[in-house]
C-alpha cells in the first residue's frame, strides 16, 4: 500500500474576464496514509474541489507536487530533476476513482453498463467486466437494478451507481466531491453508512469533501478544516466516530454522544471564527 503525498502545493487561477487572479490554494502540505478516511470541511470557495482536482490529476499546481506511492500525479517532484519529468506525470488514472456530486453517469448506458464502463475502457471482455461490476453493484445494494436506465433512478441510487463505478476499477483511493450534497437528509444518512461500510470492506484510502459539519465528524478518521482566501488547511483532527459506528451500528447514538456534540460545537466555532475574520460563506 502506498500513501498520497501533497507537498507545498499552491494553485493560482488567472482572473476571469480580466478580474483579479485567485489564489485557490496556498502552502498545502499533507499526506493520506493507507486506510485513512480523510474528510475536508470548509465553506464554499475555500478550495476543496481544487484540492480534489489536483489529487485526481485533472489540474496542475502552480507550485509544489503530488505523488501517490512511487508515481507522480501532478507537479514536478523536485527530487527527480534531471530526469525526463514529462514521462513521470500520470495525470488522472484508474488508481484514483472519483465520485462527483452529479451529472457524471452516462445516460445512454444502463446501471450495469455504467458500473462496468471503466473496465470496458481497459478492454476487459464483456462477461468478465459485467461479473465484476455486478459484485460492486451488490456492495452498494443495486443488485436488482442492473438493467434500469440511470436517468430513471433517484438521486441516491444514481450516487450508488457512481460509487460502484469508481470501485469497479479497484483503485487505491476514492476521491468524493460532495457526493451526498444533493440528496435529502434521510438518503444522505443511509449513504453515509453505506460509504463507511464500503471503506471497511475495501480498506481504500478515502478523500471526502463536505460542508456538513455533522457528516464530516461522522465519516472522518482525520478531519481537515480549510479556510478561504487564500485556500489553506487551518486545522486537523484525528477522529474515531466512524470506528465507533462500525462497531455499534447505531448512527443516532454516535451522533448524540457528548464527545460528538462537543466536537461539533468546536468545529462550528472554528468555521464561524473564520467567517468573522473575513472568510465568509458564499
Amino acid at each position: 500500500m502506498s500513501r498520497l503525498q501533497i507537498r507545498d502545493v499552491s494553485v493560482l487561477y488567472p482572473g476571469v474576464n480580466g478580474g483579479e487572479a485567485v489564489t485557490a490554494l496556498s502552502g498545502i502540505n499533507f499526506n493520506i496514509e493507507p486506510g485513512e478516511f480523510v474528510v475536508a470541511l470548509g465553506a464554499s470557495g475555500c478550495g476543496k474541489t481544487t484540492l480534489l482536482n489536483l489529487m485526481a490529476g485533472f489540474i496542475q499546481p502552480s507550485e509544489g507536487y503530488l505523488t501517490l506511492g512511487e508515481s507522480s500525479i501532478a507537479g514536478l517532484p523536485r527530487v527527480a530533476c534531471g530526469l525526463d519529468l514529462k514521462d513521470q506525470i500520470s495525470g488522472p488514472g484508474k488508481d484514483r476513482g472519483v465520485v462527483f456530486q452529479k451529472h457524471a453517469l452516462l445516460p445512454w448506458l444502463n446501471v450495469l453498463e455504467n458500473a462496468a464502463f471503466g473496465l470496458k475502457l481497459q478492454g476487459v471482455g464483456e462477461s468478465e467486466r459485467k461479473a465484476r461490476a455486478a459484485e460492486y453493484l451488490k456492495l452498494v445494494g443495486l443488485e436488482d437494478f442492473h438493467n434500469h436506465p440511470v436517468y430513471q433512478l433517484s438521486g441516491g441510487m444514481q450516487q450508488r451507481v457512481g460509487i460502484a463505478r469508481a470501485l469497479t476499477n479497484d483503485p487505491q483511493m476514492l476521491l468524493l466531491d460532495e457526493p451526498l450534497g444533493a440528496l435529502d437528509a434521510l438518503t444522505r444518512e443511509v449513504l453515509q453508512e453505506l460509504l463507511l461500510d464500503v471503506w471497511l470492506e475495501t480498506k481504500k484510502m478515502m478523500f471526502f469533501i463536505t460542508h456538513s459539519v455533522e457528516e464530516a465528524l461522522f465519516m472522518a478518521s482525520r478531519l481537515i478544516i480549510m479556510s478561504p482566501r487564500p485556500g489553506r488547511i487551518t486545522h486537523e483532527f484525528p477522529l474515531e466516530f466512524n470506528k465507533i459506528f462500525l462497531e455499534n451500528r447505531d448512527a443516532r447514538k454516535v451522533k448524540s454522544m457528548p464527545e460528538f456534540i462537543a466536537m461539533r460545537e468546536k468545529v462550528l466555532g472554528i468555521i464561524h471564527g473564520d467567517e468573522a475574520a473575513g472568510g465568509g460563506l458564499h
Binding site: 488522472p92 451529472h103 457524471a104 445512454w108
Partner: protein, 301 residues
C-alpha cells in the same frame, strides 16, 4: 339528439331536461380540446403544458374549410385562389398525365434526389467538421469565420456565383442546397460537443480513458441529440432552398414545377406543388422525431 330526447319525454319533464342536456353535449364536444389529465403543479407550473393535437387538427380543418367557402362563393378569383377541388384535380392530372414534360412522381423524385444528396453530403462533411470544431481549437479557428460569414446570406445571393463556378447542371443545384444545410448541421454538431458535462469527461479520465476514448465514447455520444436536431433543422433548410436551386435550367423538380406553373399563371399547380413539398418535408420531420425517440431516449433528462 335533443329532439329525440324531447319527443320521448313527458311534457312536464321537457323543461328541466333540455337546458341541462345542451350544455353537457357542448361540453363533451369541447372536451376534445381539453389539455388532458391534470398534472400536479400544473396551474402554477410552466405555461403551455397539455395536449395540442386536437387543436392542430381543428385549425387545419378550419383553414381548409375557409378556403373551400371562399372559393365556393367566389370571394376570390380562381386565378388568385383556386378551389381545393381544382387543386386535387390538378394533383391527379399531374400525377397521371404530367406537367412540363414530367409526371408528379418524376418531379418529386428529382427534387428528393437533390435534397437528399445534399443532405447526405452534408451529413458526412458537416457533422465531422462540426465535431472537429468542438474538440480542436485550430479547426474552430479555420471554419468559424467561413461558416459564420456565409450562414446569414440568402442562397439566392450566392446562387449566381455557384452557377458561374459549377455550371447549370445538377452539381450546382445540389451544392446550393448543400451549402444551406451545411451551416446549421455543423453548428449543431459543434454545440453538441460543447454540451458535455465536465464531470463526465473527468470521470472517464479517472477510469483510465485515453483522449481518443473520451472523444469517441463520451463526447460523441453526448453530442448525438444535438446532431439529430441539426439534421432536422438542416433538412428543413434544404427544402427551403429547393425552389431557388431549381430556378435555373432545371428540366424537372417540384420547385421547377411551381416556378413554371407560376409563369403561366396556373395557380392550382403552384398551390399543389407547395402542398406536396410541405407534406414531404413534414413526413421527413416526423421520421426524424421518431429516430430521436429511438436513438436518444435520454435527451433532456
Amino acid at each position: 339528439m335533443n329532439q329525440t330526447t324531447a319527443a320521448t319525454t313527458p311534457v312536464n319533464a321537457k323543461v328541466s331536461i333540455n337546458p341541462v342536456a345542451t350544455p353537457s353535449i357542448l361540453k363533451r364536444c369541447l372536451s376534445v380540446f381539453a389539455a388532458g389529465p391534470v398534472k400536479p403543479g400544473e396551474s402554477y407550473g410552466a405555461p403551455g403544458q397539455g395536449k395540442s393535437l386536437a387543436i392542430s387538427l381543428f385549425t387545419t380543418a378550419l383553414l381548409i374549410g375557409l378556403w373551400y367557402i371562399a372559393t365556393y362563393f367566389q370571394w376570390v378569383k380562381p386565378l388568385f385562389l383556386p378551389s381545393p377541388g381544382a387543386v386535387v384535380m390538378r394533383f391527379w392530372e399531374v400525377a397521371t398525365e404530367g406537367f412540363a414534360n414530367a409526371t408528379l412522381l418524376e418531379h418529386t423524385g428529382w427534387s428528393m434526389m437533390r435534397v437528399f444528396s445534399a443532405f447526405l453530403l452534408a451529413l458526412v462533411t458537416a457533422v465531422p467538421i462540426g465535431i472537429f470544431m468542438g474538440v480542436n481549437r485550430i479547426a474552430r479557428g479555420i471554419f468559424d469565420p467561413i461558416i459564420e460569414f456565409y450562414r446569414p446570406l440568402p442562397p439566392l445571393a450566392y446562387l449566381p456565383l455557384v452557377i458561374i463556378w459549377l455550371g447549370i447542371g445538377e452539381v450546382s443545384k445540389i451544392v446550393l442546397i448543400y451549402l444551406a444545410i451545411f451551416a446549421p448541421m455543423a453548428l449543431s454538431a459543434r454545440a453538441g460537443v460543447k454540451s458535455v458535462a465536465m464531470e463526465q469527461i473527468h470521470a472517464a479520465y479517472s477510469m483510465g480513458a485515453s483522449r481518443w476514448q473520451v472523444i469517441r465514447q463520451i463526447i460523441l455520444i453526448n453530442a448525438l441529440p444535438e446532431i439529430l436536431t441539426g439534421m432536422r433543422i438542416g433538412i428543413g433548410f434544404g427544402w427551403t432552398t429547393l425552389v431557388a436551386a431549381e430556378m435555373v435550367a432545371a428540366q424537372a423538380g417540384l420547385g421547377f414545377m411551381v416556378l413554371n406553373a407560376a409563369e403561366f399563371l396556373v395557380t392550382d399547380i403552384v398551390i399543389m406543388g407547395i402542398i406536396v413539398i410541405g407534406i414531404i418535408a413534414y413526413l421527413f420531420d416526423m421520421l426524424m422525431r421518431y429516430l430521436e425517440k429511438k436513438l436518444v431516449p435520454w435527451k433532456g433528462r
